[in-house]
């Protein structure tokens, strides 16, 4: 699914990303995602459309937004005109999601490139970049042409495996999330099946093996307390990695940094009232999991420690 080859809907552009690949990077966050992870820290990118963030703290209830609104039925849900935002004098409204052309992005890359250093480059994230595959393919090609190092953070959820592999051909580095090995659990946590995700990873791993070093692909396992942190999941994941001969995994301790954005989007954050295990407990848990991977000769990086 994509708007047109020429434009992509992107909700954020971040410089000085240090956890999204080697060196210093500029990260592009694509709007829209086929998954709906309960813990998502970028809820504003979940849907493939522009979203409004409303900050009650700044709002003075002047209702200028209401005055400016041109919808006949004031049904905000599907509105993409968002004329109310401009009208707010108190910066209580913000749009997440803007259209960028290939040229727009390349301009940004040219601006940032002097600061990436020798190893840095661009990371495509989101949301799910694969959702706007045509655009993604184009921008990746442009990057390749200009020798910009490319990385991707993806769920690998793409129907057509050949298309998936084609895109990955142009990617120098990939982080792929595996939220849960068990199909049912995966649906519960992300609202989609993990079948095509696992299939795509397998195929990719096989292609990789035939060509280059395995550091090009790093699996990511976000450890969500009470959801996917059980022993069976860990073991299944280890088995999967052994089967696909993948050697590196990055386990991510859960964080709720994105939770305030749920309020701004008027969405419900599942974990709002949950009591998390303490820092020490979480550290202990990470260490235990890491040990299990290490025991099977899989390189395991925790959190921000990366292989860079």
């Amino acid at each position: 699914m994509s708007m047109s080859e020429d434009l992509a809907l992107i909700f954020d552009v971040q410089g000085y990303s240090v956890h999204d690949g080697p060196g210093l990077r500029t990260t592009i966050f694509f709007s829209g995602c086929p998954l709906s992870c309960l813990w998502c820290s970028n809820p504003e990118g979940m849907l493939f459309k522009k979203r409004i963030m409303y900050n009650a703290l700044h709002c003075k209830l002047c209702l200028k937004c209401n005055e400016r609104c041109i919808l006949l039925e004031k049904n905000c849900k599907d509105c993409q005109l968002l004329s109310c935002v401009e009208a707010c004098p108190h910066q209580a409204l913000r749009v997440c999601g803007k259209h960028y052309s290939i040229n727009d992005l390349m301009r940004i890359f040219r601006r940032d490139r002097p600061f990436w250093g020798a190893e840095g480059g661009v990371t495509f994230s989101g949301g799910e970049p694969l959702l706007q595959e045509k655009f993604l393919h184009q921008i990746l090609t442009e990057c390749n042409k200009t020798h910009i190092h490319t990385a991707i953070e993806t769920s690998a959820y793409m129907e057509n495996c050949d298309d998936f592999l084609d895109i990955m051909e142009h990617v120098d580095f990939a982080f792929i999330d595996v939220k849960a090995m068990n199909e049912e659990k995966h649906r519960k946590l992300t609202s989609v099946s993990n079948k095509i995700i696992l299939r795509n990873i397998r195929d990719l791993a096989r292609c990789q093996k035939e060509k280059i070093r395995s550091e090009k692909l790093v699996l990511r396992y976000p450890v969500i307390p009470g959801m996917n942190d059980d022993d069976q999941n860990v073991e299944a994941l280890i088995d999967f990695m052994q089967e696909t001969e993948l050697k590196v995994i990055n386990i991510l301790p859960f964080h709720s940094m994105g939770s305030s954005k749920y309020d701004l989007l008027n969405l419900n954050y599942e974990f709002k009232d949950l009591l998390f295990p303490s820092i020490e407990e979480r550290a202990g848990q990470m260490a235990n999991i890491a040990e299990k991977f290490a025991a099977k000769k899989i390189q395991c990086f925790i959190g921000s420690e990366t292989l860079f």
């Binding site: 410089g15 002097p114 250093g117 940094m257 954005k261 921000s304």
Partner: protein
């Protein structure tokens, strides 16, 4: 620049020594203390020698003062001596200025208020914590807003001050600056705080690099002999110079006298050490006193033989220069490269080990931290925030262009990590040739959160120096010797050939060879000048007409900009003339003698600072504050009024007059943008008006802002820089050299922001300007750090003495080894693009906790995580708590 100490347990490697800890503990409890010893003996001798040749008269007075200072040594110290008897001591110099420490009722104080020399005081507040004595109590009187003096000494101080009435540089300078046409306007400029302060009588020296070479090479006796021999050589000879050739005799005499004075001071300390050794019972302490005695006894006469002796001598020289004049920003230069030969020799001969050296360096840090500068509150609080800017430079290139960093500098970084104190701050002179290990060690230090080292661009500095000092024959080799003076002032230095002990090798060590910088025209508030432009010369705070009406309609952006430049030029010209006179009076009666003899080429030429004895004299500059608020304001005016015509100039002015519908910062007692409160429609303003204000304010806020790599704004910045850096060279200092641009804010962005109306960029009245010169206005850099750096490097930094960019980073962004490497990459990227300066504030748990309690101080704090960036203040408390906890855990 630095706040009081904070301890950052996470990334510190190793702890400071127990000895340092004990002495640091005393520092934490110490009050800034003033006494009369130095000014007493100085004044007594000075008035006795009525009519003596000026340089000799001053030298005699200095000698009298130095040789009478009471020596006090604190148990446990290894490096001894301090400016006065107190741990954190300083004293008044009424021969420079006496108005500001009088009581407010006093006529002198009232007089100085009128001429604006103390107006900054009224708007500067010292932090009431730490060692500041902000209120009188018990037998202690608070003076100049921060210092404590015994009531038993106060009447004598006032009496001493009265002796100088009409004779001080302040008074005498003022008498003559009144002769500058338009002088009344200058007073108004000072009163309205368009300009922050005069330096001729407040801080006539500093923002320079000291030179330790001559005493290291020759020793005191050696130098006294040189002076004596020279006296015989030059007596009666004009040497072709009919103006000042004959002065060489008196100058050498003066040099000899001051050397004797400082020598006597050292010997008094040696005597005290011996006395303490005698009465001491503890054997270890006894031994330490003995060693101190031997060190001092030796260096009072001879060149040092060891690292310890050299370190002690350099410290003594530093405080001797600090005592000679009111001076802030006397930087150490590349002390690590100066002391390296001694260190290396001792190490090789087994006389010292690394751990001892680190401890000594920690103790040295403490000594520098105890240095106070007695100046007026407006200067100390408003400009300096209590800091004295003893800056230690590391890195750079050597005489031959190679990496100059060394292992001693690595130890200095280590000492800075183990003993985090405000002084000396560290400046790393970045060059691509520098060794990675060294650079990564510096990054480690940055990660502890103390804010040092800052990074300065070696090549950009060299380009600046070669251009500015070309008339004084600066060449590439000399340019390489540079260091930072003060906090951020590129200062000219030279290579001096050092020989130690019986080592046949000649070591070329760098040292200062230039006059003070950041003298000339001080801190002109650009947003305030813009306010005057908009309101036809009238200060909106006082309603006083500061400048003559320009009577222009300002119908176009070009006309507006031209008017701004006119006003700015008028202000600069007037200030140059007045400051030149003040400095001229200073140099006639209060010339530096000790500092002069230390700098090439005074000793060889026989001329002191006042007679162009220094190698580099083209050091005077023009400082500005609030650059980014100016640029953002110009962009907003251009867009809203001239390009898109969304409002008229009159509407804007009306909104500014009414602070865009907000209460004044003063009335709510907060100068932070976050706290500003709107006027309710019950308070004499109609609903309609309030709405209109809102609309206007919203447009002002939405106008393009610097820091986002937008051509619209960046081009305005570039044009300003090109014009400003060029026009400086049209003005001459009293020494006959062109001025240049200096762009740092120190702390003026607070004090000057406090008296400025709302500005067209949406900033509200009384709130603080953007800091530095290139930091984005808090909350307005929305495109990330690369875009900011891109904006910052849109013009040639080498046309200015400096630029300043402060960055806030979350520790997660630079965690671990890979984090260090990435931070280094970021620095490299900026340096390669021609950025001159970068400084990092790494925010950690302690700061986050503080940010929770005082969010008003953390408006611009970004918490950056994988995935998105969020302003700290916009995160709810419960999440903040979680983040704090997470930060401690160290993973995201």
């Amino acid at each position: 620049m630095h706040n009081e100490l904070k301890l950052f347990p996470r990334e510190i490697k190793g702890q400071m020594s127990e000895r340092t800890q004990k002495l640091l503990k005393i520092y934490y409890q110490t009050l800034s203390s003033v006494d009369n010893e130095f000014p007493y003996w100085y004044s007594r001798k000075y008035f006795e020698l009525d009519n003596e040749v000026a340089a000799v008269r001053r030298a005699q007075a200095l000698k009298e003062a130095f040789s009478h200072l009471t020596a006090v040594i604190f148990p446990g110290e290894l490096i001894v001596m301090q400016k006065t008897m107190h741990y954190r001591g300083s004293f008044a110099m009424p021969w420079l200025s006496e108005g500001y420490f009088m009581s407010k009722e006093d006529e002198f104080y009232q007089a100085s208020l009128k001429r604006g020399s103390t107006s900054a005081d009224q708007h500067s507040k010292m932090g009431s914590g730490g060692g500041n004595v902000t209120k009188s109590f018990g037998k202690v009187v608070s003076i100049a807003g921060k210092f404590g003096i015994r009531e038993e000494e106060m009447p004598a101080l006032l009496e001493l001050a009265r002796m100088w009435y009409g004779k001080s540089v302040d008074d005498l300078g003022n008498k003559y600056e009144k002769m500058v046409p338009g002088y009344d306007c200058k007073e108004k400029i000072m009163r309205s705080l368009v300009c922050m302060f005069d330096s001729g009588y407040t801080l006539p020296q500093g923002r320079e690099v000291i030179n330790y070479y001559y005493p290291l090479q020759y020793g005191f006796d050696g130098l006294i002999k040189i002076a004596s021999d020279k006296m015989s050589e030059v007596a009666g000879f004009a040497n072709g110079d009919g103006m000042v050739g004959m002065n060489r005799l008196y100058n050498y005499q003066a040099i000899k006298l001051v050397l004797e004075g400082v020598q006597a001071w050292i010997l008094n300390y040696a005597k005290e050490a011996k006395r303490l050794e005698h009465i001491e019972n503890d054997l270890d302490q006894k031994q330490e006193y003995q060693e101190i005695y031997e060190n001092l006894q030796w260096i009072a006469y001879h060149p040092p033989r060891s690292f310890k002796e050299a370190l002690q001598l350099c410290w003594t020289l530093h405080i001797a220069v600090l005592n000679e004049d009111a001076i802030s920003g006397l930087s150490l230069g590349r002390l690590g490269q100066v002391l390296y030969p001694y260190y290396e020799n001792d190490l090789r001969n087994g006389k010292i080990i690394e751990e001892q050296v680190i401890e000594l360096l920690e103790l040295q840090r403490l000594k520098f931290t105890c240095v106070d500068c007695f100046a007026s509150m407006g200067v100390v609080g408003g400009v300096l925030s209590g800091n004295t800017f003893n800056n230690l430079s590391i890195g750079g290139t050597d005489k031959d262009g190679r990496d100059a960093s060394n292992t001693l500098e690595m130890l200095m970084l280590e000492a800075g990590i183990r003993c985090p104190t405000p002084q000396p701050t560290l400046s790393l002179l970045y060059d691509d040739k520098l060794d990675d290990e060294f650079l990564l060690k510096a990054v480690q230090s940055v990660k502890t959160g103390t804010g040092y080292p800052a990074f300065m661009n070696n090549r950009v500095a060299m380009e600046f120096l070669l251009e500015q000092y070309r008339n004084e024959n600066m060449n590439i080799e000399e340019a390489r010797a540079w260091s930072i003076g003060g906090c951020l002032e590129t200062s000219p230095c030279s290579w001096m050939p050092l020989k130690i002990n019986s080592d046949p090798k000649t070591y070329y060590i760098p040292g200062g060879s230039g006059q003070p910088t950041s003298v000339g025209v001080h801190f002109v508030s650009l947003p305030k000048v813009l306010e005057l432009v908009l309101f036809d010369g009238v200060d909106q705070r006082t309603s006083e007409s500061v400048l003559e009406k320009h009577n222009r309609k300002l119908n176009s952006y070009d006309e507006l900009l031209a008017t701004f430049k006119d006003y700015f030029s008028k202000i600069v010209e007037l200030l140059v003339r007045c400051n030149n006179i003040q400095h001229d009076i200073w140099r006639k009666n209060n010339m530096a003698i000790f500092n002069s003899l230390l700098k090439p080429d005074c000793l060889s030429k026989g001329h002191l600072i006042n007679e162009l004895g220094y190698r580099y004299n083209a050091t005077f500059n023009i400082e500005t504050t609030g650059t980014i608020n100016l640029i953002n304001s110009l962009a907003s005016l251009k867009k809203n009024i001239y390009d898109e015509k969304r409002m008229t100039l009159d509407e804007l002015k009306w909104a500014i007059k009414n602070n865009c519908g907000y209460k004044t910062a003063e009335s709510i007692n907060s100068y932070s943008l976050m706290d500003q409160v709107k006027i309710a429609d019950t308070e004499g303003v109609t609903r309609r008006e309030l709405e209109h204000f809102e609309e206007i304010h919203s447009l002002l806020m939405k106008a393009p802002k610097y820091g986002n790599s937008e051509e619209y704004v960046d081009s305005i910045l570039k044009d300003w820089e090109d014009w400003f850096t060029g026009m400086c060279r049209n003005y001459q200092s009293l020494y006959g050299h062109p001025l240049y641009a200096c762009q740092i804010s120190v702390s003026t962005h607070g004090a000057m922001g406090a008296v400025t109306s709302a500005t067209p960029d949406g900033r509200l009245a009384g709130t603080t300007f953007a800091d530095g010169s290139l930091s984005a206005y808090p909350g307005t850099d929305k495109n990330g750090p690369f875009a900011l750096m891109n904006s910052a490097t849109c013009f040639d930094h080498s046309r200015s003495q400096n630029t300043q960019l402060n960055f806030k980073l979350h520790p997660m962004a630079i965690a671990g080894n890979s984090g260090s490497k990435k931070l280094l990459e970021l620095i490299r990227g900026y340096m390669r693009r021609g950025g001159f300066h970068l400084q990092f504030n790494v925010v950690d748990t302690n700061m986050l906790k503080d940010a929770q309690k005082h969010p008003e101080n953390y408006r611009d704090l970004l918490v950056r995580v994988a995935g998105f960036t969020q302003y700290w203040v916009e995160i709810g408390k419960n999440i903040q708590d979680e983040v704090i906890a997470r930060t401690e855990y160290g993973e995201m």
